[in-house]
Amino acid sequence: MEPLTDHTGRVLPLRRSDVDTDQIIPSRFCRRLTKTGYADGLFARWREADDFVLNDPARAGGSVLVAGPNFATGSSREHAVWALRDWGIAAVLAPSFGDIFRRNALKNGLLAVQLPDAVVSGLLDAADRDPGFLVTVDLVACEVRWDGGRQAFEVDPRARRLLLDGQDDIAVTLADGDRIAAYERGRPHWLPVFGAARAG
């Protein structure tokens, strides 16, 4: 992956809590075998309403989604991340996230950043007033900045380092291959195995 240090973009305010991944991308769009090409499925059901934020022409090109608490709860489908990214969303800011989604997001370079409730409310209000409202998410400084404000955030240190360096997650783990092999030699022999390795 290309190294990723920061992103600046206009805010798309999504004033809803507990947005589940079935809303972000309904399962019928998750039947493809690729990792790209999911933009058509993003919020497919909600986009049928004309007043949905992604349909607002004044906000076209917005790339920082700001949402209520417990964003992307539910299903583990990574398609939710792929759909957001394919639509052009580079960062999601919310008071809290579904755990699996946050992991998936960072693995794909989508900056899922947890901010205090009051900060998210302030950003939503500012974006409501001004469709051109800009926010910068800075992974180097670990802070979110906007005209007149800034807020520090925490991010998983390994995910951060991988993004900043553009490193491959699996390659980093495989560098510990000897340690993994040593661990494997000490596993109890009666643990279950599958397939051809099974005796009888």
């Binding site: 507990d18 589940d20 417990n70 992991r103 560098a175 510990d176 993994i180 109890p188 195995v193």
Partner: protein, 466 residues
């Protein structure tokens, strides 16, 4: 004496590989379960990078999300393609697969346990959020996305920070008509759909000890609906007895060795959890959902709540939206809500005990004329067992459809999708907007309530039937 530890800490410590870099520990994965809907892109990633599956012998694949449950032949072109891809990937990498039509096929979270391949103290990972189900065996089991599936295929590990722990203490005695499903819906209503975010839950208390393995799986399955990373129950005689007859348990002297180890897997007295919640279960009654997340639930005896009464602004807004989607008025008695579809199945409530509970209600009764009911066993083994007990005849005589195994109507990904504004009483785990079909409305219920509802044509408990 070593420090007292919780169950999850013991399993964590036994699977922890300190990383040579400054990153978090690697967690070794004992069993990696794979299905057709979240794995194709992971195998592609391996291929692109020229990598192999490190431990095909610790990997098991099934076809469940996207298979038909009314026919042994797959005709939908996309399903055909997905399944063909999984079969190709398994053949290429030497992975054991239970394909559609195999006697051992079923929903991934039903199949692993019934084989006896999920054992206390193991770590289990699958590209599916309801992997938490396997925690019923005292295993640490959690769902991951496709990138992590690829990571596990390539390395058999996951870099993970140590999870926070939360004790869920159930106090009191469970009334006889209250099931594991009701227990969890009550907990979700209490702590909310986000109430356990980031934690591994350990379910504790005498009420848990009295539950069968099937019920414990229902309990742990729904952990994810509280936002938890995983849920678990410490193993005991019930666990060991369940495993003793399973084909893939350790055999002979291995069994004794395993049993000795499993018997140490419990939270030590004095061990500290990061959080504790307590729920008194003695006064519970059957619980059903009224909204569009599993925490929006009330006892069946109550009415649709008034959003104006929620003190939290976000909850109030969510409740208003939910009622609009569900087409429900505040104050409507839950028992007055009419349904046209009943779905009995899924990894939450598609096991033999669930089918028995529903059949006991349906025996000698027929469905309301307006109701369509699908009975979808959690696995082909469950289906077989049910047929040996004659349950299929009870379902058919009542007017229900007796189907093959798969995820079916749980997620609206396959042909068993609701079209139009149907209202469904479902034993599955998610009542999200559009989950069972674009405009479908879902009420989550236990198997016994599902069966009674099918007869009454409106939400009902078995005791309501004359």
């Amino acid at each position: 004496m070593s420090e007292p530890r919780t169950l999850v800490e013991k399993i964590w410590d036994a699977h922890r590989i300190p990383s040579g870099s400054d990153g978090p520990d690697l967690l070794y994965v004992d069993a990696h379960l794979v299905h057709e809907a979240t794995s194709a892109q992971a195998f592609d990633g391996l291929r692109l990078a020229g990598r192999k599956v490190r431990r095909p012998d610790l990997t098991l694949a099934v076809e469940d999300h996207n298979v038909p449950t009314d026919s042994l032949s797959i005709t939908d072109p996309i399903s055909v393609e997905q399944v063909a891809r999984l079969r190709g990937n398994c053949a290429e990498h030497g992975i054991e697969l239970f394909p559609h039509g195999d006697a051992r096929q079923g929903i991934v979270h039903v199949v692993g346990p019934e084989l006896g391949a999920i054992q206390p103290g193991m770590t289990v990972v699958c590209g599916d959020s309801h992997t938490s189900t396997h925690g019923a065996f005292g295993a640490l089991a959690f769902g991951v996305g496709t990138s992590d599936v690829e990571h596990v295929l390539a390395t058999q590990t996951l870099p993970m920070p140590r999870p926070r722990t939360m004790a869920v203490e159930f106090t009191g005695t469970l009334p006889p008509d209250v099931t594991a499903k009701d227990l969890m819906l009550a907990l979700l209503a209490e702590i909310g759909a986000n109430g356990a975010r980031g934690h591994v839950l350990e379910y504790r208390g005498a009420a848990i000890r009295g539950l069968s393995m099937e019920s414990r799986m229902t309990l742990c399955n729904l952990s994810i609906e509280a936002g938890a990373r995983a849920g678990m129950v410490a193993p005991d005689e019930v666990t060991f007895e369940y495993l003793a007859t399973r084909p893939r348990r350790p055999a002979g002297t291995d069994w004794d060795e395993a049993l000795a180890h499993w018997s140490t897997l419990h939270t030590d007295p004095g061990a500290v959890f990061d959080r504790t919640v307590t729920l008194e279960v003695g006064a519970l009654s059957p619980v059903v959902t009224w909204g569009t997340n599993p925490g929006q639930a009330v006892p069946l005896s109550q009415a649709v709540p008034d959003p104006a009464r929620f003190t939290d602004a976000a909850e109030r807004a969510a409740a208003r939206r939910a009622l609009e989607y569900m087409a429900l008025e505040p104050g409507t008695r839950m028992r007055d809500i009419e349904v046209d579809t009943v779905f009995l199945g899924s990894c939450t409530n598609g096991r033999i005990e669930d089918l028995r509970a529903a059949a006991a209600v349906l025996r000698g009764r027929v469905l309301a004329p307006s109701v369509r009911m699908l009975v979808v066993p959690g696995s082909m083994q469950v289906r077989d067992q049910a047929e040996r007990e004659g349950l299929h005849e009870v379902f058919r005589a009542a007017g229900a459809e007796w189907r093959l195994s798969g995820c079916s109507m749980c997620l609206g990904m396959n042909a068993d999708r609701l079209s139009g504004p149907r209202r469904c009483a479902s034993t599955s785990n998610r009542n999200y907007e559009g989950r069972q079909g674009d405009t479908a409305r879902t009420h989550l219920v236990s198997p016994a309530v599902a069966a009674a509802t099918a007869v009454a044509g409106r939400l009902a408990a078995p005791a309501d039937l004359s």
